[in-house]
């Protein structure tokens, strides 16, 4: 007998159960998946480099695409991982189509504005720190840490040599650690 959401509290169901309900045509189960993973997906897309409304559009497209391809979900990993991969691919496709300066080496485009508050970036704010990276470094590190793609998978997706991807991630990590590490407060001198 098939499961129906009428008798179930969807908020207590696992992703796997919700996907099975969706595959059976239950749209409310899919709405629960959107509610559960919407913020995570929107953040992932923003961290890759998409901006505000554009990121939300892509997140929506990714959800709709996931709904249409639910039959292809093989239950061999978390649903959000599969969702992020769909979103990542859509984002990369859009970046390539728009010829954005994704793979440039010209850092002058991304230098902070003169007079920018350095302390603001030193805060534990990952998103602000990611904004300081070159787009390709930001993309590589986000795909690796947020999208859970391996270095080889990122190289395949970006059509870059594996060594280049590794060095992008290494450089990005070094910069993130530098930016996010709190500045040691100088010890107060006590007079004698």
């Amino acid at each position: 007998m098939g499961l129906t959401s009428d008798k179930l509290d969807l908020t207590r169901q696992s992703d796997v159960d919700l996907v099975r309900l969706c595959a059976g045509g239950d749209k409310s189960a899919f709405a629960e998946l959107v509610r559960r993973h919407g913020s995570l997906l929107r953040t992932h897309i923003r961290r890759m480099g998409a901006q505000g409304a554009d990121a939300d559009d892509m997140a929506q497209e990714a959800f709709m695409s996931a709904y249409e391809h639910l039959a292809e979900f093989r239950f061999d990993g978390p649903f959000i991982g599969w969702l992020k991969r769909i979103a990542s691919r859509r984002y990369l496709k859009k970046v390539r189509a728009n010829h954005k300066y994704l793979l440039t080496d010209n850092m002058s485009l991304f230098e902070p504005e003169p007079g920018a508050n350095e302390d603001e970036f030193r805060a534990h704010n990952l998103d602000a720190a990611l904004n300081r990276l070159k787009p390709v470094e930001r993309l590589c590190v986000t795909l690796n840490f947020s999208g859970d793609l391996s270095h080889q998978e990122i190289a395949d997706e970006l059509k870059l040599p594996l060594g280049t991807v590794k060095s992008h991630i290494k450089r990005a990590m070094d910069q993130l650690k530098t930016i996010l590490n709190p500045t040691p407060t100088p010890a107060l001198e006590t007079g004698t």
Binding site: K27, F30, A31, V34, R35, G38, S39, L40, R42, T43, R47, D56, A59, Q60, F63, M64, S65, Y67, H69, E72, W82, R85, I86, R89, K93, H124, L126, T142, F145, S146, M173, L176, K177, L180, N181, P182, P184, T185
Partner: protein, 145 residues
Amino acid sequence: MSDMKLDDGDIRDLFAATPVYTDAPAFEARVMRGLRLKLWLRQGVIALAGLVGGLYALAQFVRVPNWTIGEKVLSGSKMARVETDQTFRAGVEFFDVIGKNAVNLFYSSMHYLGIMQTPVFFWVTFSLCLACLALYYAYSQEETI
């Protein structure tokens, strides 16, 4: 303050932390609305394709030799006119006029139906269908990771 150093695990934890969006319910509603619209449009396209297919089938059907529904209608109405009395004749003539107009309309649409019976039309629609299938397959392959 201690001189704390971030490691890879800390960065991973930062990535795992999700900010709360105040417009999350609106986003959910937007996704579901878009999904419903897309499904509705798809059903509309399927219905339209069915209509075109049905029209094509009708065009093939009327091409059957000696298939003359128009003449039958006309001869039937003539017989009725001869065999009925004067009072009833007016009514028959009225329906006769309507019938003739309908047949004329039908024959004028035969021009378009005739186009749909040509081999060119068949190959064009067949190629379009194949192209749609190929595009759908390519698109679905690209989506799948």
